[in-house]
Amino acid sequence: MGMDLSYLEALMGGVAAEPTTSESAGGVWVVGVEGRLDDGLLRLVGKARVLADALGAYVYLLTNGSDREAAESTIRAGADQVLLAQGSPTLTDLVSFFEPRQPEVILFPRTRVGRILGAGLAQRLDGGLCGHAADLEVDPIYRRIVAHQPVLDDAARQRMTILAAPAMAIVDTAALPAAFNEPWRSGAVADAGADWVPAAEPRPITWPQPAVTLANAAVVVAGGRGLKTVEGFALARQLAQALGGVAGGDLTALDAGWIAEEELIGLTGARIAPKLLLALGLDGDTSLFMSIQDAGLIVAVQPDPAAPIVAAADYNIHADPADFARALLERLSRA
């Protein structure tokens, strides 16, 4: 597949040809066929834009999730041409759509539909696929797509050079940077010429979930001796509620009678693994550190810069914990 020289032509004073739907082969395609146009898809269009700029290609978006007005937002996000379709495609529909178009790159969002159609399409088109990409780049020497695939629970990412054509990837859109919103971009909205059968509505079902506890909470606000009074610890509870999490405490809080035994974080209490641990007035000891090893982001509010928690935290705030809790509560209620 040759390089798209239209950008060079435009630079040299010639007129770049507008992309046309049927005749042009190649291009970076984004397929979002779940009946909605969400932020994740716009971010994926942005990533496609970056790849297309490196390849000298156009960005096409095939979607059934937008009307013409909503399609404008995808042009601001980087699409050169938006193809609107009706209904939901089966794998066979997509194969017959893409076979004559000979795309160079096809990207799917990592949703259940995207995973089924993306992997199936790769198999049918004999393409190369990275089934879980957190990022994508272009190898400029060989003009190949290199996907970054998370391994070991995202402890690292593995480079996957996609050898077969078309190069395809199922992309975790939550890992991508924010979508472009560039009003000066121009593009075309066209009909995809595809009239697919609407998908059958699945029957919804719900089942009871275990209650949120310290062990499975996404946010934990932990209080300790630095909160000084039971009123001070009440601020930790309020903060936990405002952040949608659970409050807990260390042994000093238990000894002071501020928390019940099941709210204890430590070797004799709960082992926690939240995304955010807000430690208010905790000094930190071995018992606590053993139990917070799996915590994501640790923010410690601690007036004493020599406290052990200061070395373990990602962010430290040297302030009175109760004062800081009040200030943060006020910010959160305002937002």
């Binding site: 259940r112 159609l117 962010y315 705030i317 040297h318």
Partner: protein
């Protein structure tokens, strides 16, 4: 009902380390185990067999060591196993794996249902089930937590969308279904079954040539490169300033990290 469960051998993530200096996996202490999500699929298959009768066959692809996976599946309750092995399958990538397993399913003949695990541990992507379905031309469903057979050649699948919320879909058999790790826990093998799993004739070893696959069908679609590592954890930063500005800064920080 003839149910095939695709099972693979992976490096145990708990024993797999990452070498920062060489930017690759450090496999010196790594232990090979049966992919745990595949055991969930086997458990679902065994429950289906208990409900409607039939046969459960474990299907694996790998080197001679992958024999352990087949024996473990038989110890857990599978009737027999097929291992696709040989020098040509070492290091094959997703596209070729799907082709080889498809050939295996066709070889087993009259298969009603293929189950896979949700994802391979260590470096899996969970794209085997849709790839197999595309190769076989069968219906597919991902992340099933419950399977209930129906009388008219269909299977009712409960799929988990988010915690506590899901949907029920009906698939016509034959179908390919990936079983979520949130489904029933895999059973422990009975010691007597473990001992009997090494009886002769239970694991059939088959080469790709015998399944009718040539070297062209097994070419790689991707090339695995080095690892990209996150920056090493350093001592935490300090947010300075008076309490109010620090609170503002923290709220902004939590927003950028998408926690708020």
């Amino acid at each position: 009902m003839r149910i095939v469960v695709c099972m693979k051998q992976v490096y145990d993530p708990a024993t797999t380390r990452i070498s920062r200096s060489r930017e690759e996996f450090d496999l010196r202490g790594a232990v090979k185990i049966t992919n745990t999500p595949d055991k969930h699929a086997l458990e679902a298959a065994l429950r289906l067999r208990a409900a409607v009768g039939g046969e459960v066959i474990a299907l694996s692809l790998g080197d001679a060591e992958a024999d352990d996976v087949c024996r473990e599946a038989i110890a857990m309750g599978a009737d027999r196993a097929l291992l696709i092995s040989g020098p040509e399958v070492i290091g094959v990538t997703g596209r070729a794996v799907a082709r080889a397993l498809t050939a295996g399913v066709r070889y087993l003949d009259a298969v009603d249902l293929v189950l896979t695990g949700q994802v391979g541990l260590t470096d899996g992507t969970g794209s085997l089930a849709p790839r197999l379905a595309a190769e076989l031309g069968w219906e597919v469903c991902l992340d099933a937590v419950r399977l209930a057979p129906m009388t008219d050649g269909q299977i009712e699948v409960t799929v988990a969308c988010s915690p506590g919320v899901g949907e029920i879909v009906c698939l016509a058999l034959p179908a390919v279904i990936s079983v979520a790790t949130g489904s029933e826990r895999p059973r422990y093998a009975h010691p007597a079954r473990i001992a009997n799993a090494w009886a002769p004739g239970l694991v059939e070893v088959c080469s790709c040539t015998r399944l009718g696959l040539d070297a062209a069908a097994l070419t790689a679609d991707v090339e695995v490169g080095g690892l990209i590592l996150p920056p090493e954890r350093t001592r935490g930063q300090t947010i300075v300033g008076p309490t109010e500005t620090a609170a503002d800064e923290l709220v902004g920080l939590l927003r950028t990290k998408r926690i708020l």
